[in-house]
Structures are given as structure tokens and as C-alpha cells.
């Protein structure tokens, strides 16, 4: 079976599994909301401050929520040794990894689609006129987060203290992504919103580098 | 001159850090060598 088709089938399985209970998705969204709320207690921002620090807050919320969400993704496979079954199937390792990455991307994106408007309402930050550009920046950032996050959840699945290890491995690696995403989002929240090409290029570069690396190294992640 | 103190401290830091690290490695190597000899002796007696 070729890789895209296998990945699509695995993705469908992940989506079906998650939407049966929706527990991972709801937990992620609630956690994101809690972080967004704590921002107000910690900083009590004015409208101008919300515009200024909002991008940073949003992306920190996404990174933390993402780190917590990614672990259960691989841990699920270990409870019934389903990963062994997947290995024996006539599909490439990259298909298995890609299926997970796509699923994580969709879950994270759904969480963001809830959190960004809520943030806008709570802190009076208008999203008018920047919606599509904002979605582009969110997508590029989320791709980087889920690609590296899925790879590291596969790595930390074999280690002790994996709940702490995954954020620990992930967050330093993601600093270029955090800088790029925050700056690009901030450029959209200013008086004259503009899509900062330099940062968007950095985000795209980050995504391409790590997606390629995942593809090249996938066998070592999935093997016995 | 305060600046000279900082400069000297920096110079010391560079070599002290390497030195301490090197010493810890050397000590562990010596201990391992002893343990390896002990095990080899044990195997020879078998």
C-alpha cells in the first residue's frame, strides 16, 4: 500500500477514535483557555498591552497545550501493543508517523480555532481583516509544532518520565518557531497589519527542515 | 582594577572548568580500570 493512502487510512482511524470520546480535544482546549485566563490575572493587561503581548501569550498557550496533548497520542498505541500490529502491516514507517502527524495537526488546529477567537473576545483584540493571514501563520506554526512533537513523542514513548520529557525535549528545539510565530502574529496585530515575509519564510524553513528530517529518520523511530 | 579581577576570574573559569571535568573523568577511569581488573581476575579463576 502506498504511503499517502496508508497515512490517510491511519488518519481516519485516529479521527474516528478521538471523536468517539473527544476527551483529548476537550482537555487541550480547556487547558488553553486556562492559560489564556491566567494571562489576565498575571498581567491585568490594558487593550494596548493585550495587542502587544497577545501573540506571545497565544503561542505559549499553544506550545504548552500541544506538549501535553502529544504524549497520549503515542501512549495510546502502547496500551494494546497496536504499534506492533502497525509495524507488521505492509506500510512504510513514514506512513505511520505521517498519519499521527496529520491527526495531531488537525487536533491542534481545532483547539487553536477555538482559542484564538476566545482570546480576541476576552481581550478586545479585533481579528477583522487579518483572518486569512492569521490562519496562514497559525498553520505554519502548528505544522512545525506537530511534526517535531510527534517525532519526540515517539522518542519519549520509550523513556521514563515521558510526561515531563516531551515538553523538555520539545520546547528548546521549538524556540526558532516560537520567535518566528510570535513575531509574525505580532505583525498582524499592529495598527497596519502586514504579513512579515521574513518570519513567514523562517517558519516555512523550519517546517521543511524538520519534515524532511522526520522522513529520513522515520525508520529509527518506529522500529522495534 | 576591578576589570582586571573579572578578566582573571574569566581566565580561571575557563581552565578550572575544564580541569575539574578532566579530573572527574580521570577518577572514573581509574575506578573502572580497577573494577575491570577485578572482573578479569574473577574470570581467570573460573
Amino acid at each position: 500500500m502506498n504511503t499517502p493512502r496508508a497515512a490517510a487510512i491511519l488518519l481516519a482511524k485516529e479521527l474516528r477514535l478521538e471523536f468517539r470520546t473527544r476527551e483529548l480535544l476537550s482537555a487541550t482546549i480547556i487547558f488553553g483557555l486556562v492559560v489564556v485566563m491566567m494571562f489576565s490575572f498575571a498581567f491585568d493587561p490594558t487593550a494596548a498591552e493585550s495587542r502587544r503581548y497577545g501573540p506571545g501569550l497565544l503561542w505559549i498557550a499553544f506550545l504548552f497545550a500541544g506538549s501535553l496533548m502529544l504524549n497520549p497520542s503515542f501512549a495510546r498505541e502502547q496500551t494494546n501493543d497496536t504499534l506492533d500490529a502497525l509495524r507488521m502491516a505492509p506500510i512504510s514507517s513514514f506512513a505511520i508517523l505521517l498519519g499521527k502527524m496529520l491527526a495531531n495537526f488537525i487536533f491542534m488546529s481545532l483547539a487553536e480555532l477555538v482559542l484564538v477567537p476566545v482570546f480576541g473576545v476576552l481581550y478586545n483584540v479585533s481579528m477583522a481583516g487579518i483572518v486569512w493571514r492569521l490562519i496562514l501563520v497559525l498553520a505554519l506554526g502548528t505544522v512545525g509544532l506537530t511534526v517535531t512533537g510527534t517525532v519526540f513523542s515517539a522518542i519519549s514513548a520509550h523513556a521514563r518520565m515521558r510526561e515531563l520529557l516531551l515538553p523538555l525535549l520539545l520546547l528548546p528545539i521549538l524556540t526558532p518557531l516560537l520567535i518566528g510565530a510570535v513575531e509574525a502574529t505580532a505583525a498582524l496585530f499592529t495598527e497596519q497589519p502586514a504579513l512579515d515575509r521574513m518570519w513567514v519564510a523562517l517558519l516555512a524553513g523550519f517546517d521543511i527542515v524538520f519534515l524532511t528530517a522526520s522522513w529520513l529518520l522515520c525508520d529509527y523511530l518506529i522500529e522495534e | 582594577m576591578k576589570n582586571f579581577e573579572n578578566l582573571f576570574a574569566a581566565w580561571m573559569v575557563v581552565w578550572a572548568v575544564f580541569f575539574v571535568y578532566e579530573i572527574s573523568i580521570a577518577r572514573r577511569i581509574a575506578r573502572l580500570r580497577e573494577d575491570i581488573e577485578r572482573l578479569k581476575q574473577q574470570l581467570r579463576e573460573e
Partner: protein, 237 residues
């Protein structure tokens, strides 16, 4: 054995000559005077760190390609040594900053990058500590190590772009911008000294890892002999 002693003596000699050169041969810098000489230790530690992390990357790729344990040992040696060099950079940086700018730390591009790399390779070492199975430990840490090294240019670029956007006091002042020829020569000598010491330390750490492996193999053999002893005794008696 003699090679090892010779390399140690050479490294020690280089250290003293480098120190002498940095303190007395190098000309005095216009604005910062004496304290600027930290530059001759701070920059080389950064270069040594980068060399060590390159060794880690090469070792990681080679391990995945060959599955030869020697590359795994080299990877650990390189990572630990690199973190040591990084620590030196993170200590000498503030020692320079305090007299010049009055602040211990600044989030300028280079210091921030060094800090992130420090965290990254400490995570590499932590990861190894948390995986029990030896084969998995080597394989998975190699994958992480490759990802970490690929991240290095991205970290550097993103920090540069970020900091040119929000200018901060630049720790290294006018370094590289029209360096006096004597200064360049002193810098070269100091770089050779620090990198030389780094290599000596790295090779020792490698040897430690190799001995550890030898010890574990012997332990397994002794234990299997002990386990077989009753069976052998039964055969004889």
C-alpha cells in the same frame, strides 16, 4: 600512553602561551581596555563548543548508519564536552557584561543562542539517562541529536533576526569588525588552545565510555558464568 601524555603537555603549554598572549601580547583596546581581553577566551569557547557539537552530529549520523557502538560513545563524549564549553561561554559572557554594561545578562543574539544550545544538549544527555534499553538509548538519542543539530542554524538565524529588530547592547562590541592583525593572531592562538584542550578532554571522555562498555561486557560474562556454574557442577558430579 606516551601519546596521551605528549598531547596533555602540548595542551598545557598552549594554555599558558595563550594566557600570556591574551594578557600581554595583545594590544589594548580603545574603549574597554583590560576587560576586552575576555574576548580571547569567550569567543574560542564558543568555537570549541561548536566543534564539539559537530562531532556529536557526525557521530549520531555514523551510529545510525553503522550501528557501531563506538559512534555512540563519541556522541556522548562530544555532547558532554560541548556542554562544558557552553558553560564556560555562559560564565565568561556575564563576566564581560558586568563591567562594560553594568548588567549581568542580556538577551542579545549570541548569549541567547548559547543558552538555548546549552539547554538542547543537556536535554540530549538527560534523554540518554532516561532510556534503559541500551540499543534504544543509542538509536533514539542519535535521532534527537540530529534534530538538535539541524536546529542550531535555525536558532542562530532566528535570534539574529529577532535581535536586529529590537536592538540590544551587543556583548561582543566590535568583534570581527576590522580586527587589528595582532589581535587576530592572538585570537587564533587562543582558539587553538581552547579547541586543543576540548579535543583532549573529549578523547578522555570517549575512553571512559569505552571502558564502561568493557566493564559491562565483563559483568555480563561473569554473571553468565555464575548462572552456568550449577549446571556445570551437575555435569561433573
Amino acid at each position: 600512553m606516551t601519546g596521551r601524555i605528549a598531547s596533555r603537555i602540548a595542551a598545557a603549554a598552549l594554555i599558558f602561551f595563550a594566557g600570556y598572549a591574551a594578557l600581554f601580547i595583545a594590544p589594548d583596546e580603545k574603549t574597554m581596555h583590560v576587560i576586552q581581553r575576555i574576548f580571547y577566551f569567550h569567543v574560542p569557547s564558543w568555537i570549541a563548543m561548536f566543534c564539539a557539537f559537530t562531532v556529536v552530529f557526525v557521530a549520531n549520523v555514523a551510529y545510525l548508519a553503522t550501528r557501531n557502538a563506538k559512534w555512540d560513545w563519541l556522541g556522548v563524549a562530544g555532547a558532554e564536552t560541548g556542554v562544558v564549553c557552553c558553560t564556560i561561554g555562559l560564565i565568561t559572557g556575564p563576566l564581560w557584561a558586568k563591567p562594560v554594561w553594568g548588567i549581568w545578562w542580556t538577551w542579545d543574539a549570541r548569549l541567547t543562542t548559547t543558552f538555548i544550545l546549552w539547554l538542547l544538549y543537556i536535554c540530549y544527555l538527560l534523554l540518554r539517562g532516561l532510556i534503559d534499553d541500551p540499543e534504544k538509548k543509542s538509536t533514539l538519542s542519535a535521532v534527537f541529536g540530529i534534530f538538535a543539530f539541524l536546529d542550531v542554524p535555525l536558532v542562530y538565524v532566528s535570534n539574529r533576526l529577532w535581535r536586529t529588530q529590537h536592538p540590544q547592547p551587543v556583548i561582543l562590541g566590535g568583534s570581527g569588525s576590522g580586527l587589528d592583525p595582532t589581535m587576530s593572531k592572538v585570537l587564533l592562538v587562543c582558539t587553538l588552545a581552547v579547541v586543543g584542550v576540548m579535543i583532549v578532554v573529549l578523547m578522555d571522555r570517549y575512553r571512559l565510555e569505552r571502558l564502561r562498555h568493557e566493564f559491562e561486557e565483563l559483568q555480563i560474562e561473569v554473571e553468565s558464568r555464575i548462572a552456568e556454574a550449577p549446571a556445570i557442577a551437575r555435569e561433573r558430579g
